[in-house]
Assembly symmetry: C2
Homo-oligomer: 417 residues x 2
DNA sequence: GTACTTCCTTCTTCGGGAGGACAAAGTTGG
DNA sequence: CCAACTTTGTCCTCCCGAAGAAGGAAGTAC
């Protein structure tokens, strides 16, 4: 049982958070609209916005040209450039870091390509922490970092950001989050999320899936990861390891071998290598560029490439059909490399959905391609960094200011190692 | 965004509901324990219990022999025999109705076997409504019916209790809930739930799955239904049609034909007929008794029966492995006819789990057999009937009393049609 | 310029929960 | 059997958050 809405302070805290979240996600909302959406009185909205304004989180402006009768409602916007988070993204083929402002604006970013082969924890964290310090150094003074978030292409223990299983780098039980936090030296914890989990959140909050309370997101890179939104919240499971739809067995007989040691997993049948092999191009192509080449060949009419996309689509369709039967979602979103693959495979996917999904569940489901492109995961990481602030704005600010105070007192030189 | 914990009244309502739910599920809880579990002050618990006591929902008693130092805390129990719900259960092979008291005690019940072949909506509703009237007639005066709930072995539209797809009876879009409500004539809506959904809830609240926040429940009868608890709540999806794990495709090549029109669905590979066919007994056995016969034969050492269970277990294992990868649950529960099948198939299931589930997700998962037996679904239906009361106790009581008033005023003869 | 609409702001009221003080009811130990 | 200790029940006051009414402000419509 969750403890109900306990004391009044908790209410205030939650309402402040909810209001800030609305502003953060919408960019600009009028007070009257906030009152409507949150089901609160005008007076209450006044009190809440006043508190957030004086905290420096939002600002209020007169709108221009409402066009409607009556006194125009003040518009609440996130205060630009006063608070930000650091977002990190460890992808299969590159490392990305960004400074993201309240409202979700990417203020600055750094990027490095990386070899697909194994990499050392030290190296990866070193590059990312370097990016982080650089981003902070170039921040105009007065802007405070209120959180950090990281996306990683592997299985993560949410409690401490440990990489349980990262097939691309060959990592097993590496303390990624803790280590990155230590190297950043900000005194902030670094929550880490699986790339597909965070992609799902991002598409749900800022992508094609806005307003969709039940959403299945498939993220393709080397394998296929998943993020599933159930009732507006990410499905995480007991340990945070849920949504592993890439290892759903779809081909129990002559399944292709999978990284995980099994055979016939969805990701073995529809991943990069499956597509390239199916197109008969395993000699000359590989990786994301390989996938692009096959897709482009198919668009030009190449029969082998088209046939390969169809074959992938059939397996993908089985997986998607199973997922729709299980989750009865309002939308299925294809992201990562599947964004490019899906259009050429859509017919097969749809026909599997038609054949295998019960009518009631397929009546209203929409199949879409990711709207946020390659930066979905980065956006998700940023949201992870904002999560605490949106849950309890004043508390996070107090902590942040306390931390800034002690740091300034302790040393006058910047805290880069 | 859900509107936060709005006004104070809403808090009070939720706290009353939460307290009543604790009492309902635990049977008897001390006030100090309630304060602990709900995170509320002693004074508040006092106020809440006082309100529920004066409403007649609970009573407080002196405990006997606490054994601990200090003044003994008063024990709060559900008031017996003052409020009840009607629970209905449409199973594959029988119709069940029961009067269930607060706390989950079955006070009285009626049951009728039914042919497995198609049945008319009118007939089924007629029998159930008759049971309902009979149960109410034999209630001692002063006991009020505060809700109704029904379980149905098919796909249900939760909004109005319409059976979208009921393969066993050949029903499509039949207004079961509405019709049963009309025939009962209580002025109460009749929420209807899928049997496996409700089974999952029941096992989660009163069965092996108490305290397990992420739980997968598989319910076997002719087919295989599913109910999945995610973060303590039933996964329903956009239309309430989620959890259809029975139509997960596990055998895309030489799959057995399924009721749904497809082939290779989980329920086609592990359902009653699959087992009986696999045992080579399709000539002389069928239905639930057929399953029992095969299981008993296997227990006596019959090789064909044992082999059949192993084969079923292998397919079941694929399905279960997929589910564990997707949901990372704390427990998987086998109910309905799977309760009998599972022990003889466990080795195969476990070996599939071992082979196909990623380590992190299988570290802690437990596989168990249903604890509530054949009445899981009935228990779930009762909980459905109690749901409103537990969400807003005083409101439901007010409505109930108002209804009782108007009914008594309108007619002096009982309201049986 | 007047009527109308919609919103902002202030002030008061209401209600829920926390917390302290004291009484009550049990155990423990002599 | 009594005193010390522990834990809880009950009462009372305080605090705080939200609602709601009233009056003013800032737009549009005609």
């Amino acid at each position: 049982m969750t403890r109900a809405g306990r004391s009044q302070e908790e209410i205030r805290q939650r309402n402040l958070g909810a209001l800030l979240r609305h502003v953060h996600l919408a960019g600009a909302v009028s007070r009257s609209e906030l009152a409507d959406r949150m089901g609160l009185n005008r007076s209450t909205i006044l009190a809440l916005t006043a508190e957030l304004t004086s905290a420096g989180l939002v600002r209020e402006e007169l709108p221009r040209d409402t066009g409607r009768a009556g006194r125009p409602s003040l518009v609440v916007r996130p205060e630009p450039g006063r608070f930000h988070v650091l977002a990190f993204d460890v992808r299969v083929d590159r490392l990305v870091a960004a400074r993201v402002g309240l409202g979700g604006v990417v203020l600055d970013r750094r990027e490095a390509v990386r070899q697909r082969a194994g990499a050392d924890l030290e190296d990866v964290v070193g590059v990312l922490a370097g990016f982080g310090h650089d981003l902070l150094r170039r921040t105009r003074p007065g802007s405070l970092c209120v959180g950090v978030g990281a996306a990683y292409c592997g299985m993560i223990r949410p409690a401490d950001g440990t990489v349980r299983y990262g097939p691309n780098m060959g990592w097993v039980d590496q303390a990624f989050g803790t280590e990155l936090g230590r190297r950043l030296g900000l005194g902030l914890p670094v929550p880490v999320g699986n790339e597909a989990h965070l992609g799902a959140l991002a598409e749900h909050q800022r992508g094609v899936g806005i307003g969709v309370q039940n959403l299945v997101y498939l993220h393709g890179d080397v394998g296929v990861g998943g993020g599933i939104i159930v009732g507006g919240k990410l499905l995480d499971g007991d340990g945070g390891y849920g949504c592993e739809l890439g290892h759903m067995m779809v081909n129990p007989y002559d399944g292709r071998p999978c990284e995980c040691g099994s055979r016939g997993c969805l990701e073995a049948e529809v991943g990069e290598r499956a597509l390239i092999d199916a197109a008969g191009r395993s000699g000359d192509l590989s990786g994301r560029e390989g996938v692009r080449a096959v897709v482009e060949a198919a668009e030009r009419g190449d029969p082998a490439a088209r046939e390969a996309l169809h074959r992938i689509g059939d397996w993908l369709g089985i997986g998607v059909a199973n997922l729709i039967n299980l989750f009865n979602p309002g939308m299925v979103v294809f992201g990562g490399m599947l964004r490019e693959v899906y259009p050429g495979s859509a017919a097969q996917v749809l026909s599997r959905v038609e054949a295998n999904v019960l009518v009631a569940s397929r009546e209203r489901v929409r199949l879409r391609v990711s709207a946020l492109g390659d930066d979905v995961t980065l956006a998700g990481a940023a949201e992870l960094g904002f999560a605490k602030l949106l849950a309890d704005p004043l508390d996070v600010l107090a902590e942040t200011r306390a931390r800034a105070g002690t740091r300034r007192r302790r040393t006058l030189t910047p805290t880069t190692s």
